[in-house]
Each structure stands twice: as C-alpha cells, then as structure tokens.
Amino acid sequence: MSEFKSATVEVRLPSRLGFEKVAMSSAASVAKLMGFREDRVEDLKTAVAEACINAIEHGNRLNEKLSVGVVLSAGGDKLEVKVIDDGKGMMKQPAKPDIDRKMHGEEGPRGMGMFLIQALVDEAEWVAGCDGKSSYVRLVIRLDKEAE
C-alpha cells in the first residue's frame, strides 16, 4: 500500500455524553482511508471514545459551554489523535483497575477508561496545559506493516 498523504481533520464536540460517538466515527473514517485493519479501527474507536468521555466528564465537567477538540493527524504509517479539553489535566495516573478488587468491593466498578486507552493504542500520553487549561491526551496508532 502506498504511503498515506498527510491530512488533518478537526472536530469540536459539545461537552455532552454521547457526542464521543461523533469523534469515534470521524477517527474510524480516517483510519479506514489510511488502510487500517478492521480490528485496529475498533481499538481506535474505543480509545477515542474513552478519551472524549474523560474530556467531557472530568476535563470540562459536563459544562456544555465548553467544547472538546479532537484533532486527527494522519500521515505516513500513523494516525495521531489529540483530544483537548479545558481541564487542568491529570496530576497522576490512576492505578490499574483490578477486577478481583472490584468484585470484592475494594475499589469502585468504574475507572476502566484510561486502562483501555493505554491497552488499545500504540502510544498514549496525557499532557497538562501550561496555563492550567487546554490539557490534552495524545494517542497514536500505527499501521501494522505485517498485515498489509
């Protein structure tokens, strides 16, 4: 497959749960144009959805006056996704969820989002905005050369 010519797509979402599906669809469309396998597209969709949900719930605290920016940068063999919100960013990474602890009531049933993001894409980093705002999560997913 020939190398994909660089392209950038930007989407702005209202801070309302459910709109993460718009970002999912956009990311999936770009990934398909780049030639990603269907299973990798599904991985990307879930990672993008979880990043947007975190931005809507925790970054923008469901404030519908604020929007979540999603920037999809496609080029070469990788797709980079930045999900930007108006929160302060994460001070520390939450502990890896433990199903046994959840089942025994030692930790809450929620808290799977960041774990899923990290497990499903090739790179994930959380960057706090220098002004205490405009924090973002940056995800990278790469084309699997062997599968092409």
Binding site: K21, E42, P97, I99, D100, P109
Partner: protein
C-alpha cells in the same frame, strides 16, 4: 446521541434441563443504561433465577461506564449466588471484556446455543 438501551427478559431451559434467565440488551451500553442493565437484573427473582445469560447480540457500543454497570451486575449476582454468562459480543468487545477481567467472573460464548449447551 446515545441510542437508548432496551432490555427484555426471556426464560429458557438448557438442554441439561436447567432454567435459564436471558437478559437481552439492544442499543448502547453506557452511563445512561443503568435502568436497562441493573434495573432489569434487579427485577429478577433472586431465589429462582440462578443461571443468567446476558445477550449482547444487538449491542453495538459499550463504553467504560457500560462495562462498570456489567461489573456491578456481576457483583450483585455473586452476592446472590447466581451464575452469569454472556454471549453475542463482537470480537472487539470480547477482547475488551477479557482485558478488563470480566471473563474471570462471567463465561463468554459466541452464541445462545453454545451458552445453553454449556449450562
């Protein structure tokens, strides 16, 4: 934006003769699905519904809030000595359920026939 979660309950008998309660979900499983997932489960009689099958065949989207509802259901079922199994998940969500450890507490099957045959 999220498609409403619908749920219904079917009562079946496994080939081995055990009564099985099937919770069939349709739509998205997300934070708005509490009533459809937990509410429907909590409406089951705990003394007789001992084998529970979750049918995800018509579910396209499950996010981490939806997974949390499934885990909450599993916790309540474990406390009521009920066994829970699931079928109909896509390959992707089978992977996700395995990654988060749900398969330790709920056996997954490709379809209803395979699930019933194992009960």
């Amino acid at each position: 934006m999220q498609s409403e979660t619908k749920s219904r309950v079917d009562k079946l008998t496994s080939p081995a003769g055990h009564p099985v309660t099937v919770l069939r979900f349709e739509g998205d499983i997300a934070s708005t699905s509490k009533d459809a997932v937990l509410g429907t489960y909590q409406g089951l009689p705990k003394d007789t519904a001992k084998l529970i099958l979750l049918d995800f065949t018509k579910v396209d989207y499950i996010n981490s809030s939806g997974i949390a509802l499934v885990i909450q259901l599993l916790i309540e079922a474990a406390n009521a000595a009920q066994k829970v199994y699931a079928f109909g998940l896509s390959a992707h969500f089978t992977k996700v359920f395995t990654m988060v450890g749900i398969t330790k507490y709920a056996g997954l099957f490709p379809g209803q026939a395979e699930a019933l045959a194992a009960l």
